[in-house]
């Protein structure tokens, strides 16, 4: 016999939950809308926290373990807040043979963090992208939304230094 599970209450008064609810409605409140819903949460809030995962899992009636499983399986989802700026180094094949390894190493050293993390003061998030597609222009680094083609170690260092609060 199926047990009726009440839809959990909205975590707080934040208006962004309306977007999340709308996304779940669009997917017919079905569990197969989990990934789409998590995309919406991440777009609205920047990352997926425990509260959001509990709310989405409860609303779509999937075990919390499955929601967490999906959120942690896919690289695109992040469970931690991201920094004010983002520095994404493409590590696709074409960028790799043109020296993206050196760029990533420099960024790691400059920021003192591993890819997938944010500096302690929340200035910069470092991302290692698998391949973003403009391979003819490699090595490519994306600063926030801006593409830098044929990026050099010097330009990268200057940019990152400028982002860090003294």
């Amino acid at each position: 016999m199926a047990t009726y599970v009440a839809k959990p209450a909205v975590p707080n008064q934040d208006k962004r939950w309306k977007l999340v609810d709308a996304a779940m409605r669009r997917m017919g409140q079905q569990s197969r809308g989990l990934i789409e819903t998590l995309h919406t949460v991440q777009e609205a809030f920047g990352y997926l926290d425990e509260q959001a995962l509990r709310y989405v899992a409860g609303s779509l009636r999937v075990p919390l373990s499955r929601a967490y499983g999906v959120a942690s399986f896919y690289h695109y989802f992040t469970l931690k807040p991201t920094g004010k700026h983002s520095c994404a180094v493409c590590t696709g094949t074409s960028c790799h043979i043109k020296g993206s390894g050196e760029l990533l190493a420099t960024a790691k050293r400059e920021l003192g963090i591993e890819p997938g993390n944010t500096t302690a003061r929340g200035e910069v998030s470092l991302v290692s992208e698998r391949c973003i597609g403009p391979c003819g222009l490699g090595p490519v680094v994306v600063y926030d939304e801006e593409f830098a083609a044929e990026e050099t170690v010097e330009a990268l260092t200057t940019r990152l230094k400028g982002w860090k609060t003294p």
């Binding site: 079905q30 569990s31 197969r32 809308g33 989990l34 990934i35 789409e36 998590l38 995309h39 499955r66 499983g69 999906v70 399986f73 896919y74 690289h75 695109y76 989802f77 590590t91 696709g92 094949t93 074409s94 790799h96 043979i97 043109k98 390894g101 190493a105 992208e129 698998r130 391949c131 973003i132 597609g133 403009p134 391979c135 003819g136 222009l137 490699g138 490519v140 593409f147 083609a149």
Partner: protein
């Protein structure tokens, strides 16, 4: 939508375009946008408005013009191509429209990069505005769909596709007609058509280019497939790393719905079909069809054993047709011109054309569509223009992390499914990365193993643990700390992963290692016995670590 109505839309669009004396096309695909083509388009628009030429000249944002390394690219209707255009060049370009082209910016089009191409799947790239369905219709878009729906039975459509000899462009090369007829024959209450746009191979961007340049072409291909197999629901699974492709598909789907090309009773027949977009979330393994289905169902993208194949039991247990972007893009011309026409192009077993993304240490990088059977040497030295800065060619990598490296001795091989497989590589989805003498092949093998290790979903042990162990040994080799025993172990692991992994990712993960071991054994030997990296890549890195 009737054929008459479609013709009417095409006619009025063609007339509207003919009113302009000339059209300036600006590439607005990711490659050129990354080198700021949007500012070039804005500057051209402003310049035209400033000169009061608004009703004589038209500026059009178009899809990929191909030669990404020379972007931003601008072309004119009369056939002139300009390269590396900046916003400041807008006036100069307009001064020369209809006259002698501006020499300073001219990009020659009589070179093999353009001359050797035969565009079928990408025939509209760089010509139509991907954001306007009318422009697609003016280039005979959706006429194949209407022809199929009105004049052909479902069996006839499948027969035409079978006759064309088209094989899956995602990499495996399974005959498309055969796949379609299996789904058509399968019994199910609901059938699905899925477009695999999860182009994960690093260094491959053909599907991105097709989606960004001509989204309606893929939709039309899916519609024809859905009609042929009897499906009423479709999904396009596109990777999150391609925001522009997602944006263009999101714009294209409602346009098609509005014209009654998607939805219920399409073109006055009883055929219903809807398409939903599913955005991936960054998992390479989701390019594998059973993993992709799991992801569309909102689950972790882990593969499952086949059979049953998705054609029998796919999405939600129902018969499901999964084809790649490029496969669907080839369908409308096959229906329009006939299977025999398509089968007349290419080689005996690999028909038609293939879109490749040519990158790496090569002069001309970009997206090219060439007939199957073209020589690898011609691909690298003619189409690609050879290696820049006087360095020498070392290898060409095809098929991404599942493929292999092909050395210069084997360059006289024709590009087709069988020949590449014979060389220990694969056709793959079409990524071609050229490497010169400054690349260390052991480092490349390590790079791909690193990729497979990170992307292994963890479900089966040979892949999960095997990729880790292989990566560890390759790391030791590049750090000059490996022994002959390690090498023997590496070879053993290649065999193990190939034969015991659950899905294609694990089974093909050793390919880059196997192919480099076979063709570049000397480099492995140099690292292990002489503690020396012939290309100078690994040594440099060791110094840096110690410094």
């Amino acid at each position: 939508m009737t054929p008459e109505r479609l013709e009417q839309i095409a006619q009025s669009e063609r007339e509207a375009q003919a009113r302009f004396t000339d059209t300036v096309n600006v590439c607005t695909a990711t490659g050129c946008l990354a080198s700021r083509s949007q500012s070039v388009k804005d500057a051209l628009d402003k310049e035209i408005a400033g000169r009061g030429w608004g009703n004589r000249w038209q500026v059009k944002g178009v899809g990929c013009l191909g030669l990404c390394s020379e972007g931003p690219l601008v072309s004119t209707r009369s056939g002139t191509l300009y390269k590396r255009v900046t916003a400041a060049d807008a006036g100069e370009i307009l001064d020369h429209v209809g006259r002698e082209p501006a020499k300073r910016l001219l990009c020659p089009t009589n070179v093999p990069f353009f001359q050797r191409q035969l565009k079928i799947a990408t025939e509209n790239s760089g010509i139509v505005d991907p954001e306007r369905v009318e422009d697609y219709i003016a280039s005979r878009g959706y006429s194949a769909l209407i022809h199929a729906l009105r004049e052909m039975s479902q069996a006839q459509v499948i027969q035409e596709v079978t006759k064309s000899g088209l094989r899956g462009r995602g990499g495996a090369g399974y005959p498309t007609g055969l796949k379609w007829s299996t789904v058509a024959k399968a019994v199910g209450t609901q059938k699905y058509v899925i477009c695999n746009a999860d182009e994960g191979d690093p260094g491959a961007f053909m599907d991105r280019s097709v989606l960004e340049s001509d989204p309606h072409r893929v939709i039309e291909g899916m519609l024809i497939a859905a009609y042929a197999v009897g499906a009423s629901q479709g999904y396009i699974y596109v990777r999150a790393e391609y925001p522009l492709a997602i944006q263009r598909l999101r714009a294209a789907l409602p346009q098609a719905e509005q014209l009654g090309l998607l939805g219920t009773d399409i073109c006055g027949t009883r055929f219903n079909f809807r398409i939903e977009l599913r955005v991936g979330a960054g998992a390479y393994v989701c390019g594998e069809e059973t993993a992709l289905i799991a992801s569309v169902e909102g689950k972790r993208g882990t593969p499952r054993p086949r059979p049953p194949y998705p054609a029998q039991a796919g999405l939600l247990g129902q018969p499901t047709l999964i084809n790649n972007v490029e496969t669907f893009a080839n369908i409308p011309p096959i229906i329009r011109k006939g299977g025999d026409w398509y089968a007349g192009i290419g080689t005996e077993k690999s028909k038609g054309t293939k879109v490749f993304s040519l990158t790496g240490q090569i002069r001309h990088t970009g997206v090219v569509e060439v007939p199957m059977g073209i020589n690898l040497r011609d691909m690298v030295f003619e189409v690609g223009g050879g290696i820049p800065e006087g360095r020498s060619f070392k290898a060409v990598q095809t098929g991404g992390p599942s493929g292999g490296c092909i050395p210069s001795e084997s360059l006289d091989t024709p590009v087709d499914y069988e020949s590449l497989a014979h060389l220990g590589s694969i056709m793959g989805s079409g990524g071609m990365v050229v490497m010169d003498e400054s690349t260390c092949m052991v480092d490349v093998a390590k790079y791909f193993m690193d990729f497979c290790m990170t992307e292994s979903c963890g479900k089966c042990i040979p892949c999960r643990v095997g990729t880790y162990q292989m990566r560890r040994i390759l790391s030791a080799i590049t750090n000059m700390a490996a022994t002959q025993k390690d090498l023997a172990m590496l070879e053993e692991l290649c065999d193990l992963l190939k034969n015991t992994s659950l899905c294609g990712l694990g089974q093909s993960a050793p390919n880059p290692v196997v192919s480099t071991l076979k063709c570049f054994a000397m480099e492995y030997k140099a690292h292990i016995e002489n503690h020396n990296c012939p290309a100078g890549v690994c040594g440099k890195r060791a110094e840096r670590v110690s410094a």
